[in-house]
């Protein structure tokens, strides 16, 4: 792909705007004074959501090394609560010294990159390339300390595969699916022909896996201009996934009540599966024994989700907070967090850790998920560009797919409505 060329453009843009940054970023680097007294008492606050794996025991490791630091950890129940809180207080007062953000908020966070203290340059290279790229602003500053990622494999029901006369062993399934999306949909045809049942959960979920492999799906990375409706790649994906979904999809929108029911009742045989989805499946279909995961992803690699830690530039203890964020996202700490909560590490060195590679998942028939997801993470090459309007456009697209799936509209009408909705965005 043209990743390299785009990166070069980004670099030039970065150099060109450095002078602007120097002017604008005066407040942004006020925490750079590294001469903080190591014995001064500091209370640091961290705000996370869901479960980052930062247990009290893990944080105690840090305070053991830094006796002058006390850590207060605030957990929001959902990332939506955290998001509302983050944007209400960013640039003002009231944020924690370290604030966790989800990759989904990145387009919005990027608009306010100057309000965050950048990650020190010497830490660059700690994370996977595409993980860093996703948190690098237009000026070339890395604004987030990567925590976890969601490399995607393919989850499948081995019992349903067996009933359809398909191989059930995860290596054989992986070999079968090796290739691009048409291979995946061909297998789907075979499955539906044999059983008359649906192959994957929804067009929306599958589309998301496909579109995340595009470098710039909806907007031009250099100008921010909306190119979605004229991007033939998007239209091709739209048509391909809907053609397949007519016969192969269970039409169960992800996260709907029906979809959760479908996880256990066998409504579909496969779904695209980031690491954190394993917990969702085992949690919602505890009695099913057939779920397994294959070390393969159509058309290369794919990532879905993941988080970062950010340090607001106007915090009271920026330097101390940066030091803690550095420690929290170090490969060793991230492995501890992985053991606590299964958050899959985004750090290069962590991906070679024995603890990670040897981890298995009992529910998925003892699949070596550590090894599988590490391979999947290494297969990811693209960090999709998400500009200011990414979510509005993508949300409209998901609705367009749903309209076709639930029979409200046909493919062409729904596409036309999407185009007019995107044209109205400003």
């Amino acid at each position: 792909m043209n990743t390299r060329a785009l990166r070069r453009i980004g670099l030039i843009a970065g150099v060109a705007t450095t002078s602007a940054l120097v002017l604008a970023g005066c407040g942004g680097t006020s925490g750079g004074e590294a001469t903080t007294d190591p014995n001064e008492k500091v209370e640091l606050t961290i705000a996370t959501f869901n479960d980052f794996g930062y247990t009290d025991a893990l944080l105690a490791e840090y305070t053991k090394l830094h006796p002058n630091v006390t850590i207060v950890h605030n957990k929001a129940a959902t990332s939506n609560d955290a998001r509302a809180n983050y944007f209400q207080k960013l640039g003002k007062t009231g944020l924690a010294d370290i604030e966790a953000i989800e990759i989904d908020w990145m387009p919005e966070v990027m608009k306010y990159a100057d309000l965050l203290a950048p990650v020190p340059d010497d830490l660059k290279g700690r994370w996977l390339d595409w993980k860093e790229e996703g948190a690098t602003d237009a000026d070339g500053n890395l604004i987030g300390y990567g925590t976890d990622i969601g490399p995607e494999g393919v989850c499948y029901r081995s019992d349903l595969f067996a009933a359809a006369g398909l191989p059930t062993d995860r290596d054989e399934v992986a070999a079968l699916l090796e290739g691009d999306w048409s291979t995946y949909f061909e297998l789907g045809d075979k499955y539906t022909a044999a059983t008359g049942k649906a192959f994957f959960d929804s067009a929306g979920g599958t589309y998301q896996g496909m579109v995340n492999q595009l470098k710039a799906a909806y907007e031009d990375p250099s100008t921010g201009e909306i190119t979605a409706t004229t991007n033939s790649d998007v239209e091709d994906i739209y048509n391909e996934v809907l053609d397949a979904s007519a016969t192969q999809s269970a039409h169960l929108g992800q996260w709907s009540d029906d979809w959760f029911a479908g996880l256990s009742n066998g409504a579909f045989a496969t779904m695209l599966c980031p690491g954190w989805m394993l917990g969702v499946i085992s949690g919602n279909a505890p009695d099913v024994t057939g779920w397994d995961i294959a070390n393969v992803f159509p058309n290369g690699g794919g990532n879905w989700g993941g988080s970062y830690l950010t340090v607001p530039a106007n915090g009271a203890n920026v330097a101390a907070a940066q030091e803690l964020a550095d420690w929290l996202t170090s490969p060793e700490t991230q492995i501890m967090a992985f053991e606590n909560a299964g958050t899959f590490p985004s750090q290069n060195d962590a991906l070679t850790s024995d603890t990670l590679l040897s981890s298995t998942n009992e529910y998925f028939n003892n699949a070596p998920v550590g090894q599988i997801l590490t391979d999947r993470a290494n297969a990811v090459t693209v960090s999709p560009f998400k500009g200011e309007f990414y979510f509005q456009i993508n949300d409209a697209m998901q609705k367009a797919l749903t309209r076709v799936e639930d029979g409200t509209q046909d493919k062409a009408t729904s596409w036309a409505q999407w185009v007019s909705e995107v044209d109205a965005i400003k």
Partner: protein, 369 residues
Amino acid sequence: MNTSSTTPASRSSAANGAERRTRRIGFGGGLSSWDLKLSPYLYISPFFILFLIVGLFPIGYTAVISFMDWDLVRNSGTFIGFDQYATVISDPKFWVALRNTFSIFLLSSVPQLIAAIFIAAMLDQNIRAKTFWRMGVLLPYVMAPVAVALIFSNMFGDQYGIINTWLGAIGIEPIKWHSNAFASHIAIATMVNFRWTGYNTLILLAAMQAIPRDYYEAATVDGAGKVRQFFAITLPSLRPTLIFVIITSTIGGLQIFDEPRMYDQFGTGGANYQWLTITLWLYDIGWGQWNFGRAAALAWILFLIILAIGLINLLITRRLVRDEGSRSSLTRAQMRAARRDAKASVDADRAALRTNNPARTNETTEAVR
């Protein structure tokens, strides 16, 4: 103490202040006349000061923001005039949302009121364990709206929901609760009805119990049956209460949010905006797209819509209340004219008296009154 002794003085001070002021008792007199004038306002001021801060100011500030392209994080914006209003009105989603809001409002309010009147009439009869039944109808109201919405949304699942399963069991095709707009409105209206019918029932029941029983006795003596009594006595007497119930459910209905928000996993009103309501869209513009200028504009449009409907309600109310309350055969205009004439003659008398004998003014006006 002081206050009561100066009461007559202050009441008449308008007419002959100079003379009466000599009756002031002690040093506090001047203050207490101020006390008398101001304290009523002072006593009610906490509400209005609070309303000013948390009600009026935000309304005004919203109006300011609605004319701007507002950046929440940087707390700044650029003035762009009526652009946000124009964008909102020209967006087809606005009209869809308006349609949905009114459709859900009608589907919930009308059956709800009919059911509430019927249940209230039943509870008004001589039944056993009255308190039990009366508290029973209020039970759904105790449940949090979000909890109600979660349970009902699950029941209205398209493929594995319990309602479609039941329909399948009696041989009816499953209903597409999430793709058919009308079906989704019915589902959401069901949640609203479930929660609010009991509440309205109790209000109407209270009103029914205030109807003098003599009416019913007289009607029974005259040979009117239960049904006739209901339509000829109960319903007309309920009118003022019904107006209150209708106004509150209008305001609530136009601001419906929890139920459509929880109706699917995304909370954005469906793939084809089947159940997108005004407030749901407002929330999405504000907290989904962080476009507070446009959200403020939409909030003001919603405010004006509610105001317009409130005015219509008020006009209807006035007419009904006049029908209810007035005992004279005069029309309003005639009554107003009569009042005007009376006032003019009193003023003329007062002016004449003031020139002759200022001290007597008080008694004279009293007599005229």
